[in-house]
Subunit: 255 residues, 2 copies
């Protein structure tokens, strides 16, 4: 397929590279910021532009991979084109395209992307959706060319999937951040936590997270909970500690 | 060394097995609950007892691996023995032994243990402490016989290390629990999150957690933050979502 990318962030970068490697042609990359468009274009052998009016209109697929808030205004200024329009967002309904184009859909990769880090795209679950049968087949074909795990999911359910990913990824990473700050204040290197973090994640590949729960909160060891809260030095983190411990304890009581 | 275990929980079980595999003799296992003592005794070729008065007094080392709250009352009822007394707790000072025995210390393994899951002990950071030079050398020797990563850490700093582990392990696992509940309510299997969870943990083996942060909160995408809070159906989880998002955002502002 000939593909135009609208956006050049982390998701766009990893997805465009994977599609290029799978034999698709990345025809053009658009970004508001010319140097970002140029960087991704160079990596994928594409043209680039920072003007919506210069977007090529004859591609097979247009992949919109921009911040959720940016998508609506951007669509209002898009030129008419052939082909399928699809976006890569967890919480934006497919219908956002309805008044703009006749064939559209979604290709949502459930993964965390950082520009500097390579990921194996073939293992990433891709959740797709389309507004008609023919478009559905084309998006499925595109998705299957880069991943072995392609699933259909409605816009309604996809927003819950995205919400779960915010907890499992963004929020668990923030727990690492808070841990790293506690260690830094004591002059202990973050490295010591790496085997623990790796094992914590590895455990839930084999057992349900609730079964994997350990620590003072699940034991309801109030003495140590109160002691640990006293060690923290800002109120937000104290509140966080208390609230997460309550949330853990509530679930262990219901067993 | 001839070692007696006081306690037969997750830490005791994994530590006793590792010590046995390294060639030490597990002479006896004590637990309040006879069947627990018997199970660990059987796995390590040890005797077992559920009576403190029957604890053998001639071993080289006594490893206390019980709930933090249980340690103090247990020590008051321990018979006098030869050898070193040590505990495996993150937040209990070494000095808890002071009025009971002349040689004592700590061997704190920084890992999450579940009985059903094997762990590679040689990669687990062990944090040790002792009340005198000779005991220190013996505990170091014991620790180095099972792990390649043995470090000294004071009781004062160890409690912060434990606190950081609660965030990095117990609290991040709870984020997986909340994610799994959100998916279950939608009939989506938890499996879909496994590549994301694995990658989230793998990222911080290579980059600082703060650099690895992605998601709506770090972008301060208020529209999606409010939308996701509305999808949640209990107040504790809504509060948690809001508080963690604020905590993430606060740190991104300070960059």
């Amino acid at each position: 397929m000939r593909i135009v990318f609208i956006g050049s962030g982390n998701v766009a970068t990893h997805l465009a590279r994977a599609l290029k490697n799978a034999g698709h042609e990345i025809a053009q990359v658009y970004s508001r910021t010319q140097e970002h468009a140029a960087a991704l274009a160079q990596a994928t052998g594409a043209e680039f532009t920072s003007e919506l009016s210069e977007i090529r209109t004859g591609a097979d697929t247009y992949v919109f991979s921009v911040k959720d808030d940016a998508l609506e205004p951007l669509l209002r200024n898009m030129p008419e084109t052939n082909g399928i329009w699809l976006h890569t967002a967890g919480s934006v309904p497919a219908d956002i395209f309805r008044s703009h184009v006749s064939d559209y859909g979604v290709l949502y990769p459930l993964q965390t992307f950082s520009k500097k880090r390579e990921v194996n795209f073939s293992e990433i679950p891709l959740f797709i959706e389309a507004n008609n049968e023919g478009t559905s087949r084309k998006i499925e074909q595109l998705a299957k060319s880069i991943s072995e795990d392609v699933r259909y999911l409605s816009s309604e359910k996809r927003q819950y999937l995205h919400l779960s990913a915010v907890f499992a990824c963004n929020f668990s990473n923030h727990m690492y951040v808070l841990a790293s700050e506690i260690l830094a204040a004591q002059g202990i290197e973050f490295d010591v936590l790496k085997p623990l973090i790796a094992e914590t994640a590895a455990k839930v590949a084999e057992m349900a997270p609730k079964q994997a729960q350990t620590g003072p909160a699940v034991r309801f060891d109030e003495k140590i909970i109160e002691k640990q809260i006293r060690l923290l030095n800002d109120d937000t983190t104290k509140n966080l500690y208390r609230l997460i411990s309550e949330s853990i304890h509530k679930r262990s009581k219901n067993d």
